[in-house]
C-alpha cells in the first residue's frame, strides 16, 4: 500500500464529509452551492487517489477521465444553481 | 539535484502555507485576495519544480494556465457590475 495513496484518499473522505455537512447546515444558498462544490472536490480527490499507482507505474487513466468530465459538469451545475438562486431571490422580492 | 528540487518544493510549500495563514487571518477582504494571489504564484512555482521532479513535462502547461488566469479572480473581485434596469 502506497503512503501517498492513503494520505490523499483519507483527505478526500474528510473533504467530502466537510462539504456534506456544510451543504446541510448552511443557511445561505450561495454557501450551500460552495459546499456542494467542496464535496465534489473530495470525491474527485478520492478517485484520483485510487488511480495513483506510485511514482513508477503510470496512473489508471479511467478515473482521470471521470474526474475531468466531472469538473466540467460541476461548474455548469453550479452555474445552473446560481441562476436558480437568482431567480428565487427575484421572485421573493416581488412578493 | 533531486534533493535540491524536493527541498525547493518544500520551501515553496511553506511559502504557500504562510500565504494561507494570511488568507485565514484577513483582516480585510483585500488582504485575503492578495494572499490568494501569492498562493497562485507559489502554486506556479511548485508545479514547475514538480514537473522536473516527477518527470511530467505537462505540468508546465498547468503552470502556464494558472499564470495566464492569475488576474481573473482579482478582476472578478474588483469588477463593478452594471445595475439591473428595473
Amino acid at each position: 500500500m502506497l503512503t501517498a495513496q492513503w494520505m490523499y484518499g483519507l483527505a478526500g473522505c474528510v473533504i467530502m464529509a466537510l462539504g456534506l455537512r456544510g451543504a446541510l447546515l448552511h443557511a445561505s444558498l450561495l454557501q450551500r452551492i460552495v459546499a456542494i462544490n467542496v464535496m465534489g472536490a473530495g470525491v474527485f480527490m478520492l478517485l484520483v487517489a485510487v488511480a495513483y499507482r506510485g511514482p513508477v507505474l503510470p496512473p489508471d487513466p479511467l478515473p482521470h477521465a471521470l474526474v475531468l468530465t466531472g469538473i466540467v459538469v460541476a461548474v455548469s451545475a453550479t452555474a445552473l444553481a446560481l441562476a436558480l438562486a437568482r431567480r428565487l431571490h427575484a421572485e421573493q422580492e416581488d412578493d | 539535484m533531486t534533493e535540491l528540487f524536493l527541498l525547493s518544493a518544500l520551501g515553496l510549500m511553506l511559502s504557500l502555507f504562510l500565504g494561507l495563514l494570511r488568507v485565514l487571518l484577513g483582516p480585510g477582504i483585500g488582504d485575503r485576495m492578495l494572499a490568494t494571489q501569492l498562493i497562485g504564484t507559489a502554486g506556479v512555482g511548485i508545479l514547475l519544480l514538480l514537473s522536473v521532479l516527477l518527470d511530467q513535462s505537462a505540468l508546465i502547461d498547468v503552470a502556464l494556465l494558472l499564470a495566464l488566469l492569475a488576474a481573473v479572480a482579482a478582476a472578478a473581485f474588483t469588477g463593478q457590475q452594471k445595475t439591473q434596469h428595473d
Partner: protein
C-alpha cells in the same frame, strides 16, 4: 557547472518567495503588503524559472517558461493595481 548555477538560481528564488510571504504575514497594512509581495514573488518566480530553464535545456520549454514569467508579471501588476484601487474606493466611499 550549469547544475551549480541552476541550483543557486532556484534556491535564491525560493528565498525571495519566503521573504515575500513573511512580508505578507508581518507587515502592518494592505499597501505595504502589496508592495512587498509583488516585488518578492515576481523576483522569486523569475529566479526559479531561470534555474529550471537552465536545467531543462529545451528550447520549447524555455519559451513556455518565459511566457509563464511574463504572464505572472503582468497579472500580479494588474491585480495589485485592482486591489489597491478597490481598497482606496472603500476608504473614500464609506
Amino acid at each position: 557547472m550549469i547544475n551549480i548555477l541552476s541550483s543557486i538560481l532556484i534556491l535564491s528564488g525560493v528565498f525571495f518567495y519566503l521573504a515575500g510571504s513573511i512580508g505578507l504575514l508581518r507587515l502592518p497594512d494592505l499597501y505595504s503588503r502589496l508592495h512587498a509581495l509583488t516585488k518578492a514573488d515576481n523576483l522569486g518566480l523569475g529566479l526559479l524559472i531561470a534555474g529550471v530553464a537552465l536545467h531543462s535545456q529545451d528550447l520549447l520549454m524555455m519559451l513556455k517558461l518565459l511566457l509563464i514569467w511574463l504572464a505572472v508579471l503582468a497579472a500580479s501588476a494588474t491585480s495589485a493595481h485592482l486591489i489597491a484601487r478597490q481598497a482606496r474606493r472603500q476608504e473614500t466611499g464609506s
